[in-house]
Subunit: 361 residues, 2 copies
Amino acid sequence: MRPTVHDIAAEAGVSLATVDRVLNRRPGVKDATRLRVEAAIAAIGFVRDMAAANLAKSRVYPFTFILPAGDNSFMRGLERHVREAMARPAADRVAISLVIVPPFDGAAVARALDAAKVQDPAGIAVVAVDAPEVMDAALRVQASGIPLVTLVSDLGASCRDHFAGIDNHAAGRTAGSLMRRFVGRVPSATETIAVLAGSMLVRDHRDRLEGFRSALSETCTLLPVLEGQDDPAATERLIADLLARHPDVAGIYSLGAGNRGLIAALQRHSGPRPRAVIAHELTPHTRAALEADLIDAVLNQDAGHEVRSAIRVLKAKADGIPAVEAQERIRIDIFLKDNLPFPDEADGKVLRPSGSGSGEN
Amino acid sequence: MRPTVHDIAAEAGVSLATVDRVLNRRPGVKDATRLRVEAAIAAIGFVRDMAAANLAKSRVYPFTFILPAGDNSFMRGLERHVREAMARPAADRVAISLVIVPPFDGAAVARALDAAKVQDPAGIAVVAVDAPEVMDAALRVQASGIPLVTLVSDLGASCRDHFAGIDNHAAGRTAGSLMRRFVGRVPSATETIAVLAGSMLVRDHRDRLEGFRSALSETCTLLPVLEGQDDPAATERLIADLLARHPDVAGIYSLGAGNRGLIAALQRHSGPRPRAVIAHELTPHTRAALEADLIDAVLNQDAGHEVRSAIRVLKAKADGIPAVEAQERIRIDIFLKDNLPFPDEADGKVLRPSGSGSGEN
DNA sequence: GAAATCTTGATGTACGTAAATCAGAAATTC
DNA sequence: GAATTTCTGATTTACGTACATCAAGATTTC
C-alpha cells in the first residue's frame, strides 16, 4: 500500500492538519516542525495521489488552443487531435476551448491571443505566425502570467514558454541526407535538386531549407526555391513547369504543405520522374502517393503527440512544475511505403471507445 | 460542470443505488428501469470519472513482466522502462513485478510463466521465445483466465491476447527498401548484400529476413546469412572475415542484436567500407556509430512505447474492455544521424521528476 | 503577568464514485 | 391472500486529499 498523509502524520508525530499545511505550503508551521514533516515524507517515500488531490480540489485546467483555418490536411489533423483531447472524458481535468483563425494572418493570431488572454485561461497553445504583432501579443500573454506554448510553428524563444514541434533544421538535414542517398551517386556528375516551399515567410520553411542545404553535398545544384503558397493549384502549375523545363531534375523536396498539387503534377507527368521525391507530413494524400510510388519518403511530425505534449507542458507550467524539455521533444518520423503506420482510425469510420488511452504508442 | 451520478439519478427518477447498480452491472434492476437509466446517461452525456472511481475502488492491477537477462542493450532499455513504470507514482494503479529469466531459454520462460500464474496477477507480459514449451505455458496461462501479452517477440496468435511489438516483416521490408536506395543503382551490376542475424531460431529474425528479401530488387545478391548469436565477439569475427573475403560487399543489414561486434569490426576495417550499413535498435552503441558514420540507418522500436502499450492493453483486458488494436500498433522508427532524438535522459544523469507524464509524445 | 501572537490539534465537509446494508414496495408464485 | 421472490430507495462508509474553522497550547511582547 502506498503511504498516505496519515502515515506522514504518524511518522512525524504531528496532526493531519499540520501535514496538510506543509504539503500545501500554507503558513503557520514552525520551521523545525516543517523539517520534521518533510523528513517523514522523504523517509516513507510519500507521493501525493494526484488523482485524489485533483478530485478534492475539483480543479480544472481551462486551456485555449489557437489553430489556423484552411484546408491544409495537416492542420485539420491537428484540429482533430485537439477535438479528441476535448472530447476525452476529462480524465485529465482539461477543458479546452478551440479558436480557429484565418491562415497566414499574423494580425488575426494576435487578436486571438488578446481575446484568449481576457478569458484568463490556465494556458494557451498557438500555431504561431512569424510576425511582429504576434510576438507582441505573445509577450502580453506572458506578461499576464499565462503559460504560452507554440505548436508546430515557433516564435522567438523569448516570446513563449515552450515549443511543441519538431526541430525543423534537423528535419531539413534529414531530408537532405535522404535526398543525397536516394538520388544515388553518379560519379563526377552534378545532380539537380528542386525545392518546393509554401512561403519563405514562414519560419519552419526557412529552417527546413537551411537544414536541407547544409546536408546536401556540394555535388548537388539546388534550383531556385519554388513558392506555391501551400496552394494545390498553384503548386501543380509550378511543378508541371519544372518537370517540363528541367527533365534532368533528380530530386524534389517539398518542405511545405501544398502536396496535393505536387502529387497531381507528378501523376500527370508523362516523362521520366525524378529519382527521389521527399515531402512533409503524412496525410491521406501523401500516404496514397507513397503507396503509389509517386513519393519516396515522407517526413512527419506526429500531430497527436504534439497536442498531447502541449497539454502536458501547459499543465506542468500551470502547476508550477518545470516541464522536462527532453521528455517532450517531438520526433521526426521518416515514412517509406514499407513502414507506414496503420491508417489513423479517425480518418476512417472506426470509432474509438472513450476511456482507453490516447495512442501514446 | 460535468454531470455526476446524482444527475443521472435525478434525470432517470431513480435512486443513486440503482444508478450504481446499472453502472457497475450489478444484478437486481428491472430491464425497464435499466433502460431508463441508460437513456438518462446518454441524454446528459455522463462519463464516469475514472479517477474518482479508481479512488473509491482503491483497485490495483498486479501485473507480471517477464524479461530476458543478458547484456543486450535493447533488453536492458526495455527493463529500464518497466522499472520506470513500476516507480511511477502509481497514478495508474499498476503494480508490476518484474521477473528476469536467462536469455534464449524456452524452458526458463515457460517456468516463469507457470510461476507467475500461481500468483494470479491481473495480467502477464512476456518477451517470448518461440518454443513449444513456451506456447504450452502460455496456453495454460490463458486457460486460467489471465490476460497475456507478448512483448517485442511474439508467439503464435492463438497463444496470447495481444502482441506489443513491431511488424517485423514490415521492418525487414523497410530495411530492404532503404538498402536498395542507399547502395545506389549502378546499371547492370549486381550488388552483393550481407545479412547478419542473431539466430534464425528466433521468430523476429526470420520475419525480418523474409521482409528484407522481399523488398530487395533482383539485382541484389544476398550472401548466406551470418549468425552471430547476438554475441559481440563472435559477430566481430564474422564481419571482419566478411569484409576481408568480400571487398565488394555493398551493404550490410544487421537484423539482430550483436551490434557492438559489427561496429567494432567496421571500425577496425581499413579498406573501403560497404556503402550502406543498416542495423536495428537505437542503443548508445548504434547511436554512436550513426554519429560516426559507421552505420547509415537504424530501425528502431520504441521500448518505452511498447511497455506502456502493454500495460494499457493488459489493463483494458483486465477490465474486460476490448483494446483498440489499431491504436496500440507500434511504429517502426527510422533514424539517420540527422534525426536522432535527444539522448534518453535515463541513460545519463538527469532524473525525471515524478508525476509528469511518461513521454507519451 | 496580562495581552498579543504564533503554532498546532481536532474535527468536519467536500470531491465523485463504489459498495454494502437494511427496509420497504412491487411483482410473482402457489 | 399469504408467502416468496424480485426490485428499488435510503443511508452509510470509504478512497486520499484539500480546505476551513475553532480551540487550546506555546511563545513572544510590552
